[in-house]
């Protein structure tokens, strides 16, 4: 009984996985495989991270980063999904824009953020802009590939009833592309978090995890602080993904049922 139910307990299994990694890193540090001067011991990091959880200033930083993250991600979806549909359904437009888009896609944040600093006089707007820029690509590309995967017969069915292209888009292409889009949004969520922190790091600002990392750089134990703050970024990633997974399960029951994706 116990073996089975243990494996069925999702959070427990996850905790075991995390504990495993923790022990591995700690062991690597203790045995000198990873020099603790170069990268702190797992236990040291954990201690610092725990202390941060009780640090009001740091919590305010987290909230500020999360605000930019949420706003940026929302805007990303609002921009990238329609753009993906436009490009995915209009091959001529897509092939005309492709060189420009493919040119823009590999511009790194380190080059982008300084330019954004020049263009935006408001820090928050700047953050949102770079988040949307970087996080839109996975949503855009996944939407376009999802559209290619729509069952043609489903589209033909609606067309045969006299529905126009927009109705087909809305009632068939969108629902059947939704699982693809969801994967893109999950990818975008972590990219958005990374960009929010990077923008704070490069641009400074009143508060944010990135700002915290700037300040931490002044400490003699800077590495420990920086890695501990990073741990919290990872924790945010786990939490946000759990939420996304819950929403996806609700929305895509049909998809799971047809594909054995249910677990």
């Amino acid at each position: 009984m116990t073996g089975r139910s243990l494996l069925d307990n999702r959070p427990l299994c996850g905790a075991v996985g995390v504990a495993g990694l923790f022990c591995l890193v700690e062991l690597a540090g203790r045995t000198g495989f990873i020099d603790p001067i170069v990268f702190p011991l797992a236990s040291t990091i954990a201690g610092r991270a725990a202390a941060l959880a009780a640090d009001g200033d740091f919590l305010a930083d987290v909230v500020s980063t999360l605000g930019a993250w949420a706003a940026g991600l929302l805007l990303t979806v609002l921009v990238a999904v329609p753009a993906g549909f436009a490009l995915g359904t209009m091959p001529r437009v897509e092939s005309a824009l492709r060189p420009v888009l493919e040119f823009l896609r590999p511009i790194p944040s380190v080059a982008l953020i300084p330019l954004a600093l020049l263009l935006f006089s408001d820090r928050f707007d700047m953050k949102i802009a770079v988040i949307v820029y970087a996080a839109s690509w996975p949503v855009l590309i996944n939407t376009m590939y999802g559209l290619k995967d729509v069952d043609p017969l489903a589209k033909e069915t609606l067309r045969s009833f006299g529905f126009g292209p927009l109705a087909v888009l809305w009632r068939v292409s969108l629902p059947s592309t939704a699982p693809f889009i969801a994967t893109g949004v999950r990818l975008a969520a972590s990219i958005a978090l990374i960009l929010a922190i990077s923008a704070e790091l490069l641009a400074g600002g009143a508060s944010g995890i990135g700002t915290f990392i700037i300040e931490a750089g002044s400490s003699p134990d800077a590495l420990e602080f920086i890695v501990a703050a990073t741990i919290w970024a990872g924790v945010i990633g786990i939490v946000s993904n759990t939420l996304f997974t819950l929403v996806e399960r609700r929305l895509f029951r049909w998809h799971l049922a047809r594909t054995e994706g249910a677990r």
């Binding site: 494996l7 999702r10 996850g14 905790a15 075991v16 996985g17 990694l21 020099d35 170069v38 990268f39 005309a96 824009l97 492709r98 060189p99 493919e102 040119f103 823009l104 896609r105 590999p106 511009i107 790194p108 944040s109 380190v110 080059a111 020049l118 690509w137 590309i141 996944n142 376009m144 590939y145 290619k148 995967d149 729509v150 069952d151 043609p152 589209k155 699982p179 994967t183 893109g184 990818l187 978090l193 990374i194 990077s198 920086i226 890695v227 990073t230 970024a233 990872g234 945010i236 990633g237 786990i238 993904n241 759990t242 998809h255 799971l256 049922a257 047809r258 594909t259 054995e260 994706g261």
Partner: protein, 262 residues
């Protein structure tokens, strides 16, 4: 003929360039030099070498191939690991139950923040840089492959079960092809991410590469140089993506044909 048609598709490029030139000339902002100025600087940086070396400068010969080499190494490693691990996680609920939090944790971490970790684990230089690239770009492949493998049509899996397909047959002949459209979306995303991570990996403790050149130009306030590096990245991105799409067209031809409508 085909070349002409290929060029025809690029019609928007000169339009954008002209608009860019006009806008930057009108704005007269130091930080936004006109494309012509960027071109001059690019020529100086990379194409003013001796004719017997195809006019490539030392900087071009030293930096571009090194960077592109690391980029490909990183992309290939991320591709192999990402697809393999993604398929495993997609098909094994137990495994994914243990590893999912670690993966979600890992992908929310800004790659530059992990530099000390990689510095500790790997020799500085190429090893560390490739590790950074792999870590930064593996997520789209991993996630897309995982989701693709999780959502294989039930009827296809039942068919392979009923006919007693071996594990490897099931994986290679059924699950992998079904997940292919998603995997390709992931690979395409990570290809340009690889360029970005290539740059990031060359920002710390590095002495060569396109990213190093970008850093060098930024540190020297050489704005045409900064833009020139961005242009090189963009052009590389376009070329790599075009090659990728050509390969995809071959490998996913069944998919395109099966799903096409008038």
């Amino acid at each position: 003929m085909r070349v002409l048609r290929g060029l025809g598709r690029l019609w928007l490029v000169p339009v954008v360039l002209a608009a860019w030139e006009a806008a930057t000339r009108a704005a007269e902002d130091n930080f936004f030099p006109p494309p012509t100025a960027i071109a001059v600087r690019m020529h100086e940086m990379w194409l003013s070498g001796p004719p017997e070396r195809l006019w490539l400068t030392d900087a071009a010969v030293e930096n571009i191939p090194t960077s592109v080499g690391r980029l490909f190494a990183g992309w290939l490693i991320a591709g192999v690991i990402g697809i393999a691990l993604g398929l495993m996680l997609g098909r094994s609920p137990v495994l994914s139950r243990f590893l999912d939090p670690l993966i979600e944790f890992g992908r929310a971490i800004p790659p530059p923040a992990l530099l000390p970790f990689f510095l500790a684990l790997f020799a500085a230089g190429a090893q560390m840089q490739i590790a950074t690239i792999v870590f930064g770009i593996i997520w789209p492949i991993l996630l897309n492959a995982g989701d693709g493998a999780r959502h294989v049509d039930r009827q296809h899996l039942e068919t392979s079960r009923v006919f007693g397909f071996s594990r490897s047959q099931r994986l290679l002949r059924v699950i992998l092809p079904s997940a292919m459209p998603k995997i390709f979306a992931g690979l395409r995303l990570s290809l340009s991410l690889a360029l970005i991570l290539m740059v990031i990996s060359e920002l710390v403790g590095s002495t060569n590469g396109i990213g190093f050149q970008l850093l060098d130009a930024q540190r020297s306030f050489d704005l045409p140089g900064v833009w020139g590096t961005i242009v090189v990245l963009g052009v590389l991105g376009y070329v790599l993506n075009s090659a990728f799409l050509a390969a995809e067209r071959r490998l996913l031809s069944w998919h395109r044909a099966a799903k096409q409508t008038i």
